[in-house]
Amino acid sequence: MEKIGLKVRARAKEALENREVDEVMGWKKGEFWYDVYPVFITEANEADDLIWDAFCVNNLSKYLIQKQKENKKVGVFLKGCDSLGFNQLLKDNRIDRDQVVIYGLPCVGMVDPEKVKKEGLNKGLLEIKRSKDEITFVTKEGEKKILGRQFDYDKCLACRYPNPVVYDELLDTEIAREVSEMDRFKDVEAIEKMSITERFEYWSNQFSKCIRCNACRNICPACSCEKCVFDNVNAGVSSKASVDSEEQFFHITRAYHVAGRCVDCGECTRVCPAGIPLDQLNHKIMKDINELYGKYDAGVDVSQDAPLVTYKLDDADSFTEHGKGGK
């Protein structure tokens, strides 16, 4: 991945030097081995800080909304899942395609620091290098190579779009990856098997952990409203009192608002400080849409109407007996 890292730096420097873009967005290494954060550089020499390693998980496309308000032309590095988010923002008319130059980065999968810590491999760890399916741990005592992808995020293991679906330039060769459709919704099926009281227990426990920090909303490419209904007291919809029903109301409504628009990038689960498996909510709605109205992947094709803003005359439904839709 380091080879590509150099390419990233070179491309950013070149873009800034000959004024292709006003600003470039990329990732920068922080203090610790797992610490990477988004950075916006306007000067060519700052390009040397850009990196491309196993922890560049942040989706940069959502920053474009603010950047475009300052009507700047921006160059951005996008992975596969980021590009899906980008398309969703495009479909919601939140960003202008011509004001963005996209450098596509096919991604083999990002490493989950929690999994590394769980294995205890983080003692004295300085750096992690990654090539296709091999991870090398650079520690004070020396290097250690481990094969396989057991340290990747769960969402990366199930990733169906490793290559960016939209880009102006591709900085690496495309990756082939077959992921079986069968077990895509295993997590949802497990919950569906529970009894109704178990399910309510499960979810009300999860929701009660929520501290309403809105991290899930801020990271989500499908949640790009100018003023969210939950921020608008005038909408009279719900409040932020620490009462169970408020969190349940928030999460059910949010899952419903991103229905048919969630690109399954898994960021909500990753950023949630309380560790609530929010993508299991979105997966359930995706599973239902696929079963009831035909397979639909948000963020892949900008021209195709989202399921909830279109209809077919003979649509199935899941509430009348002859509705053809299972319950």
Binding site: I196, S204, V237, A241, Y256, K284, K312, D317
Partner: protein, 154 residues
């Protein structure tokens, strides 16, 4: 023996009085409810009807707000697909509430508590049967504690 009669029989046993909020579309189901009235059919008094211009006006927030305020069951009634006064309104209702029906059940709400159905202006007795049926099921399930806002006193 309609539910009402049965209820008075076992009413005094427990004080559970179910509350059903029904959103009825002005052109079909509300007229169906009127017809149920004019033909003096009977369904329990616990069903309370809110008039909306079309079933596509009902927002998922209203359903959640009803459960939050202690409703034991929510019903949404619209025109039969193809009959909608606004021609395509109920096609969207069908998609929206197919997802919400499955999703509420996924989150742990009994599916008998949330009913969506198509009732035309000529189907007075279907309106009464649907309401009697929903109330009977909700009566069996008992009061709804889930999604209920503890601060709200009925």
């Amino acid at each position: 023996m309609s539910v009402e009669a049965k209820e008075t029989v076992m009413g005094n046993k427990n004080e559970f009085e179910p509350l059903i909020v029904a959103f009825c579309c002005n052109w079909c189901s509300y007229a169906g409810a009127d017809l149920a009235g004019t033909s003096r059919l009977s369904y329990p008094a616990n069903v309370k009807i809110i008039r909306v211009p079309c079933s596509c006006r009902v927002n998922a927030n209203f359903v959640l707000r009803a459960f939050q305020r202690g409703a034991d069951g929510v019903v949404i009634a619209g025109c039969h697909p193809g009959d909608c006064h606004y021609s395509t309104g109920n096609y969207y209702t069908r998609r929206r509430f197919s997802l919400l029906t499955n999703f509420l059940e996924y989150v742990g709400i009994e599916q008998e508590r949330f009913k969506v159905d198509w009732i035309s202006a000529a189907e007075g007795n279907k309106f009464a049967t649907v309401m009697n049926d929903v109330l009977e099921k909700v009566h069996r399930l008992g009061p709804n504690r889930k999604l209920r806002d503890a601060r709200w006193k009925r």
